[in-house]
Symmetry: C2
Subunit: 348 residues, 2 copies
């Protein structure tokens, strides 16, 4: 099975369902206020502007690991999978405020849109807080439509785990950088990334198919290392990737002073001089591309890049191993294996 | 029936349930991270520090309008009513970031707690965004426990309405102040205050008792004007009330440049000179108590205060009228009538 092709096909259908969903919301907003119409239009654009739709596709295949879906059910599943996509948008909008990011999916972040319009930075952040909360409400509207209390439980379990991950990550920025450990970073990756990127969506889908505890456990054992690998790969791309393909600026983790596995390992392994350079660059808002080039060389030379790549590969292996003896439907299992390979080989 | 006495009795039981709920969460957080334990402790304190528990009490009595509750059911109801209280905390935490408020329920706002600790204003706001999102997740945990998809629908319908109200209110701050109309203000009051203070909690409770469409409509007809009256009264207290009883500084609406009915009417009715003074005071962060005294006199002299009081009274009458022919259980109906009187006569 070509998981990428399947992902691409689902992306089209999910995008179309997402567009329909927001068109209805825009319509409803007409009766409320012009500002309500405007924010729904902006949310529609923000949601449709990009995104690989990995989360809803995982939700759909979490279902397909346990149950077949005829055409009618398949259509419903696509609709319900919007819960995972809307959740992603909710987190991105709030996360971008926390990180003070400017670019997302090749366009301005949500707070930047409203800040620019009124030349008021606090105002932009305020509207983004509300907009993120709205996305969360919309995701829950979909869950209510699906009519499953079990799905509701899994959604908010995922949300709370992600929120804990966020918090732990935020608090790490207040710890002296060279005291942050690999364990700290992997904990953030597990709570934040694994939860809402892989584990939550998969289990949400599996729940809809009525999967039992034993199978849910297998999905977690697959999802947690995969999410950690995904995050490590994300950090590598964010430092070494192609800005155009990524849709966001390279080196933003450095600018934000975010401590990734790449950085922790480099601080551990680099020479004293390089370590100093790295420390002074972290959190530097006006870092130049030349300085980023220097950091890349440091991270590469001390073999932190290799270490991170190897760690990501090991995690992928661990994830795949969790699936080995799983008695899942072939359509679902093949997709999970394919997506694991994709996530480690992607360039965007 | 003495609704205030009933409210007081329920407050005790709700506070105790709220404390138990957070103690369990603090316990769970032990397995996650020390920062997780800390935020749950801070949330417990924030939730228990004050609050009249009007929303959960309304939820409970929304139920009691339609169904009797034995001791077991009553205990469950108190537990489920935490959804309304946790939602309130979610909104307060985010709202305080939007409004840059410093005091809440006689203590520092959530963002102020973390800002002060690290002397970092953006960091404090970031943690408050996450903390508000957490409260929302916790509220939904309770809803999942109640096991009602209908309750889920009503919760998020209420949340979305409140979020729209927030947005409309935020956008109003960008409109030239003397172009803001009474209609604008009443729309904010309806979407923001009525929805999550009165209408949402009541309907959430009624839904759990299986109330039908006709009765839900009566509750809305009661709740919307009551919420509007509540907000007008809140604005009056915020301007003319006693800081100690309120637990927040007097005149904060002025400092934030918030356009309340009091202000809209004063701008319409005051002399040109007074109008100028009012306009120049709005949004003034360092306004003195003497200046606030002057504004009080202006608002009083031009009869805007009387107008607002009368409007609130009319709204209360309208609310009560909606109940007149309602075939509700006496216990529920009496409480609704009593609470309507309380809300208009309160001093805090």
């Amino acid at each position: 099975m070509d998981a990428i092709k399947v992902l691409g096909e689902y992306k089209k259908r999910i995008d179309s369902a997402l567009g329909d969903f927001f068109d209805k919301k825009i319509n409803e907003a007409e009766a409320i206020d012009s500002s309500a119409v405007e924010i729904m239009k902006n949310l529609k654009d923000f949601n449709l502007r990009g995104g690989k739709r990995i989360r809803p596709a995982l939700m759909i295949h979490g279902y397909k690991c346990f149950s077949d879906a005829d055409d009618k059910k398949d259509k419903d599943l696509i609709r319900f999978s919007l819960a995972a996509e809307l959740m992603e948008g909710f987190f991105l909008i709030h996360d971008d405020v926390l990180d003070q990011d400017e670019l997302r999916r090749g366009g301005p972040t949500f707070h930047a849109i409203y800040r620019e319009r009124f030349n008021d930075s606090h105002f932009g952040e305020g509207v983004a807080i509300v907009a993120g909360d709205m996305q969360n409400s919309l995701a829950n509207e979909i869950i209510a439509e699906a009519g499953s209390v079990e799905l509701l439980k899994q959604y908010h379990k995922t949300a709370l785990r992600t929120e804990y991950g966020w918090l732990i990550e935020s608090m790490l920025t207040k710890k002296p950088i060279d005291e942050v450990t690999e364990e700290d970073v992997m904990k953030v990756n597990m709570y934040k990334t694994s939860a809402y990127t892989i584990e939550g969506p998969l289990i949400m889908g599996a729940t809809l198919a009525g999967a039992g505890e034993k199978n849910i456990k297998i999905l977690s054992d697959f999802a947690i290392p995969l999410g950690q690998a995904f995050q490590i790969q994300d950090d590598i791309l964010g430092m070494f990737g192609d800005e155009k393909k990524l849709g966001k600026p390279v080196g933003s983790d450095i600018r934000e002073g975010k401590v990734t596995l790449l950085i922790v390992k480099a601080l551990e392994k680099a020479s004293e001089e390089d370590k100093k350079e790295l420390l002074s660059a972290l959190g530097k808002k006006d870092i130049t591309i030349e300085e980023i080039e220097r950091l890349r060389k440091i991270i590469n030379d001390c073999s932190s890049l290799d270490y991170s790549k190897r760690m990501a590969e090991e995690m992928i292996e661990k994830a795949k191993k969790a699936l080995e003896n799983a008695d899942f439907r072939k359509e679902g299992k093949d997709f999970l294996e394919g997506i694991a390979d994709f996530l480690i080989n992607r360039e965007y």
